[in-house]
Symmetry: C2
Subunit: 515 residues, 2 copies
């Protein structure tokens, strides 16, 4: 630990070396990372093991940690250090990247007053508990008052940040730097133009059955299979673990401690399966971030869109693919002989890729998934611009589901209460799922084109060629490049939705036998 007086000396004394300044900067950043990672441990525990009566006290503990971290990350000391470092010309390239990104973050962070951060943290805990309670009671109105307070805070946050164009842009930028309503409106317009014709062609064909997922799959055996899959794709259980939670998520306390969660439905094997591979993909990214850049931008993920590209690449491009099941299907049949001995691998893979409009986003197929995202995107925009009130969400939700997917939720649990995000105050988060799918398709196409034998090796249960490629191309860079630049470096061009369209068209032509 650096003494306060030493830092002050460093900051005020121009004779101090650049490396001394840089070390003082790292100390502050890493101390803040310690506090934020402690918050992450408390947050993980809150969703995984915490007893119910602890909710209020946990909320105040999380608020204190958030406030402390925020005050370090917006401190004058850090500000002075960063501005001095930015003026030095003898920083190594990586150091300069860290300093520049930190300065950018600082200027953004400074816009939120400490009391606001504290208030937001408390409201997040309360709102999460209200969501849990509302789900238990299957009643959105139990959640609405707490959510209304959260939205007021998010609007305040928008004002603090400032914005150009739509106010929602200010929130989007937190998750995906540079994303705007203008860009997303275009992308979703493209989805509205391109996906319905494919869905229409699929619906005219012989439908695929996924009955094989709905036999009785005992909890413990599902768990065992999930661990088997995670180990094979390369998740390091010496540097992470998996637990159960209400809603699957990934969190990380350093690249040496990455926590996944899953949930098991004994009558829906798909529920655990896809979320496990999905969270596994997030976890692999976190474990692959450079440990020596702990607490610094180069030790952090690029954006939620890129994070999601990793989970979706593993879940969809790999996990729903033929090669994956060439290896895993015999193992799965051995584990569940009664349920699967009469099901061929080809039928299982078809079931894994069944397309059907449905209610639950996390269980949606790769095609209709983007309608789920679009619905949330439209609702969030409305809430933030004030054209929609929290109490009106279930009505609006059901109307949009009917419109885009032709289905209507029977209750709130399968409707507007299904996702945890709003209870966390995460507005602007959902669109990154769609961006993630698009990046995933583009990256995966590149990997297959570039790495010879990649798919053959996967068919043998060895995923290391792919993981090594991702480590090299994506994980090891931390935030060195933004998503757009990273995509160009990896694939030679910016994000191009055509990769995703081609990928699913090809897949469904095969599954549903059309051309």
């Amino acid at each position: 630990m650096i003494e306060q007086t030493e830092i002050e000396t460093s900051v005020n004394n121009m004779s101090v070396t650049t490396q001394e300044l840089y070390t003082a900067y790292c100390d502050i950043m890493q101390k803040a990372a310690d506090l934020n990672n402690a918050s992450a441990v408390l947050g993980w525990d809150q969703e995984v093991y915490m007893p119910p009566k602890s909710a209020t006290m946990r909320a105040r503990q999380l608020a204190t940690l958030a406030t402390e971290a925020h005050s370090l990350l917006t401190s004058e000391k850090l500000d002075t250090l960063l501005n001095q470092l930015a003026a030095r010309n003898d920083l190594a390239e990586d150091q300069r990247t860290n300093v520049e990104l930190s300065l950018k973050d600082l200027n953004k962070n400074k816009k939120l007053p400490a009391e606001f951060v504290d208030q937001l943290s408390r409201q997040t805990s309360e709102c999460f508990n209200a969501w849990i309670d509302a789900r238990k009671k299957n009643d959105f109105s139990v959640f609405a008052p707490s959510l209304a307070k959260m939205i007021e805070l998010k609007k305040k946050q928008v004002e603090y940040y400032g914005y150009a164009g739509h106010p929602y842009n200010a929130l989007l930028d937190d998750y995906e730097e540079g994303a705007t309503v203008e860009i997303l409106d275009r992308i979703f317009a493209g989805i509205r133009a391109n996906l319905p014709p494919i869905l229409h062609r699929i619906q005219q064909q012989q439908q695929v059955s996924d009955d094989c997922f709905h036999s009785y799959y005992p909890k413990q055996l599902q768990w065992d299979f999930s661990i088997d899959v995670l180990k094979h794709i390369g998740f390091d259980f010496e540097a992470g673990r998996q637990d159960y939670s209400e809603h699957p998520f990934t969190t990380s306390f350093s690249s040496a401690d990455v926590r996944l969660t899953t949930r098991v439905d004994e009558f829906d094997f798909a529920s655990m399966l896809w979320s496990c591979i999905h969270e596994g993909g997030h976890g692999l990214y976190e474990q692959g971030l450079p440990a020596d850049q702990y607490g610094l931008p180069l030790g952090a993920a690029v954006s939620l869109g890129i994070h999601e590209s990793q989970s979706r690449l593993w879940e969809n491009c790999v996990g729903r693919g033929n090669e994956f099941w060439t290896f895993f299907y015999p193992r799965l049949q051995e584990l569940f002989p009664e349920q699967l001995s009469m099901v061929t691998k080809a039928d299982f893979v078809k079931a894994a890729n069944r397309v059907t409009p449905s209610l639950i986003r996390t269980e949606a197929d790769e095609l209709t998934y983007h309608f789920h995202v679009m619905i949330r995107y439209e609702i969030e925009k409305g809430l933030i611009e004030g054209s929609l009130l929290p109490g009106e969400i279930p009505g609006k939700w059901n109307e949009l589901y009917e419109h885009y997917l032709g289905v209507t939720p029977a209750d709130d649990k399968t409707g507007a209460l299904q996702d945890v995000h709003w209870s966390h105050g995460s507005f602007g988060y959902f669109p990154t799922y769609t961006l993630g799918s698009f990046y995933a398709a583009q990256f995966y196409a590149q990997a297959v084109a570039e790495v010879s034998g990649l798919e053959e090796q996967m068919a043998k249960g060895d995923f290391s060629l792919l993981l090594d490629w991702l480590r090299e191309e994506v994980h090891m860079h931390g935030r060195k490049y933004n998503s757009e630049r990273l995509c160009e470096l990896i694939t030679g061009k910016p994000l191009d939705p055509q990769y995703f369209i081609s990928y699913i068209t090809e897949k469904y032509q095969d599954i549903y036998s059309f051309c």
Copy 2:
């Protein structure tokens, strides 16, 4: 959260009301409690779920939290507030108690520089991991270098604190205010005078068998029984939980979130049984502390001796007693028919109270237990005064075990590596176990004398009369009275070892049929 400027105004402006000052004081204390409780969550996770590669990063995260909390608790701001509050004459009685105790703590805390606290926290994590590693390798020498560094830090701590008499007194005071080598030497002299004759008489009688504990007891069924016991004695699972760990312990993040751990040996039912009731007793105390005094002295436990009186009262006075098993034995027989249907309740209770010199402290009987403590006490005194070196511990350990108990460990795991305490830097902690037993015997005698029907009710599986009495007499006071004063208030006299001597004499006369 109070703004820094508001606090400064409060402190510097005598026109500010006492209640405003008091609120500012509470805010600092509770913020420090939040950080310390966050540390406790990270510490719990470290011993219960953390993957191994996380050790180094967790150590630095814990160090940061400890340093932050320490800096709040030794801040000039708190100092000024407390001194101003102490000078006010319109504090409520409870508020005055909090202020006086906090001022005392502050003056002690201020003696440790922030870097030292940071260093100690890091060394604690490292030392704990070295201990885990050494236990795996069954080799004390793997632990010794890390322990040596820890002891150097403890000696430094002694110098920072200052002391009268023996340097070890400075460390004792951390766990049991007012305890000294002079007092403990007298108590242990009494043990050396009184316990061997009882042990001698027992050894001349027909020996008791505890074979019934060493059948095969499947892990899950042991776990189920432990939960059943904890629920019946009144542990609130809505405000706490139990998990597995290498070494059983209790930790608390507030009175609404108390975590117990246990371990299961499938061929030694006693191992889980006693530690479960023991930790349960600690947990009941933590759950009984006043929630509205969160972070303040009146919301904290008196001392380790009093904490231990609660665990031992439940483990020994209750859990090894006839009434407890009148209720639980039929349930236990039902759970383990194969193992216990041929064992009478009387023989089971005898087995539960079997006296035999042995190697493992946590599994020792109530009588020889105090020799285990005395051995550690003598070693600790030697390490702190420098007459014993860490590398010499196993030799000294084995020599003392031979001398006092007539047994010699075959290896380090059953010898000097058996306890976690030293790896945590907890020197001066062990003697509180003996004090705890003595307080437990004295409190329990009082409860039985005072509360009519208490034992009859326990025999029916209802422990609420006892728990309510403890809540009222001990738990609800927090640190209002020190241990000596609390003992006088409850029992009408100071700690008197004769209660313990009478209690075990009576018990063993019955079990071993002597008079």
